[in-house]
């Protein structure tokens, strides 16, 4: 398990480095956590750019879930609520809910995931994005964890189990 986590995070790290992404921090839990994103305790990330927020699941989550074989996503035009499920991923023998860190209107859905669900594993912060949302509340974004806080959260969570 530890070897697989190391391999996964190293692969992701190399990929991010090659794409010249400067904002990278490594956590002692061996999952990649990106600076500049916000994080939920249920292991989703949010990237807020202008009027749109992009949402996906973290490297920590994809590593713990295993190979993703199916992704269930909502339709554009729908809405999401903070803390509520908007879709699911299937990995191993399990479906796992994906919860929205913020509330808002869904403006775009990553349709490529239907043909290539494994992008969630190989590129959780880039090609593996799941939905784009027009946020309805800026305070919800502010209440999410920073990269540093999320890194510590993951370490505590893994250490307690």
């Amino acid at each position: 398990m530890a070897l697989r986590m190391w391999a996964s995070s190293t692969a992701n790290a190399l990929k991010i480095s090659c794409a010249s992404k400067p904002h990278l921090s490594f956590s002692r839990c061996f999952s990649t956590v990106l600076d500049g994103l916000k994080y939920a305790e249920s292991h989703e990330w949010v990237k807020h750019e202008g009027s749109v927020a992009t949402i996906g699941i973290t490297d920590h989550a994809q590593d713990h879930l295993g190979e993703v074989v199916f992704v269930e996503l909502p339709e554009p035009g729908g809405s999401v609520s903070k803390g509520k499920g908007f879709g699911a991923v299937e990995s191993v023998k399990a479906t796992s809910d994906v919860n929205s860190p913020i509330s808002g209107e869904i403006v775009e859905v990553n349709s490529k995931l239907s043909e290539a669900p494994g992008m969630i594993n190989s590129s959780p912060y880039e090609e593996g994005w799941m939905i784009k949302v027009k946020p309805s509340s800026s305070s919800e974004l502010e209440s999410l964890m920073s990269s540093k806080e999320y890194t510590e959260f993951c370490e505590e969570e893994d250490a307690s189990h």
Binding site: S42, E72, G85, S91, V92, K93, T95, D97, N99, H161
Partner: protein, 260 residues
């Protein structure tokens, strides 16, 4: 009516519901509702279901998994369930065991597929101690390298479900409705159904298996048995399950699309 059963101070409470011959769709609807709406822990045991029924996982594609022409000709019901995993054909010879737990119910258990699967292995290792060569092989329960139990899970924000269909016995003719799946565990080594699976009845009497499973669950949880009128309570709320039968039209369309 609540009947107190095993009472172990300090263990989390778990409701135990036992059925015999409950239709599998009804069982799955109860499970899905409890997962989504109940804050309690549950163990459900269904000793066989009524009619032979095919049950696919949430992402199952009928054309890839089923011999649709035979299924339609013989009017075998097909269900798409809410959990992940593969396809099974179940009947009165199948024994179903389900655990629905809050995330805190099992100490130190991370609510992800592999830890939950591993925990289930510790429970069933107690059931099958000294019996056959039992172990968890990839995600299946096996004796040696022959599968007798298939697992599936669903994980929500605060709860998880792990349910298993045990092949007490099976009719070889029913296996003919199922294709060899594209996604198969490595240890299957491309074996056909009959070379891959085995019968639990060759290893343990039926009632002993169920009793031992309850006993093993009692080492993790404080069990209290609920009588069948609890089902009525489950169906009172307005919950819409995802689990459903596929229609003939859907199966025919799937076959047509795949050029069957």
């Amino acid at each position: 009516m609540l009947i107190p059963q095993t009472r172990n101070i300090g263990l989390p409470m778990m409701n135990l519901m036992r059925f015999k011959g409950l239709p599998i769709l009804q069982q799955l609807h109860i499970e899905e509702q409890l997962l989504r709406t109940s804050s309690e822990n549950w163990c459900i045991i269904n000793d066989g279901t009524n009619d032979p029924t095919i049950v696919m996982g949430v992402s199952g594609k009928p054309a890839e998994l089923l011999e649709i022409e035979s299924v339609l000709h013989d009017q075998v019901p097909v269900i798409r369930r809410f959990t992940g995993g593969g396809t099974v054909i179940v009947d009165h010879e199948t024994i179903f065991v389900t655990f629905i737990c809050n995330k805190e119910a099992v100490p130190d258990l991370q609510p992800y597929p592999r830890p939950i699967m591993s925990w289930s292995n510790t429970l069933y290792s107690k059931v099958f101690q000294g019996i056959g060569d039992f172990h968890l092989r990839e995600n299946d329960y096996v004796f040696g390298n022959h599968k007798f139990g298939g697992n599936a899970q669903s994980i929500t924000k605060n709860k998880w479900i792990h349910h298993t269909s045990f092949l007490w016995d099976f009719d070889v003719r029913n296996m003919a409705y199922l294709k060899l799946p594209k996604r198969a565990p490595a240890y299957r080594s491309a074996r056909g159904h009959l070379d891959f699976i085995c019968r639990l009845k060759d290893y343990m009497p039926r009632s002993i298996f169920i009793d031992k499973t309850v006993e093993a669950a009692g080492t993790h949880f404080s069990l209290r048995s609920l009588e069948s009128e609890a089902i009525e309570t489950c169906s009172e709320t307005e919950f819409r399950p995802l689990t459903r039968f596929l229609t003939n039209e859907e199966l025919e369309a799937a076959a047509a699309l795949a050029g069957q």
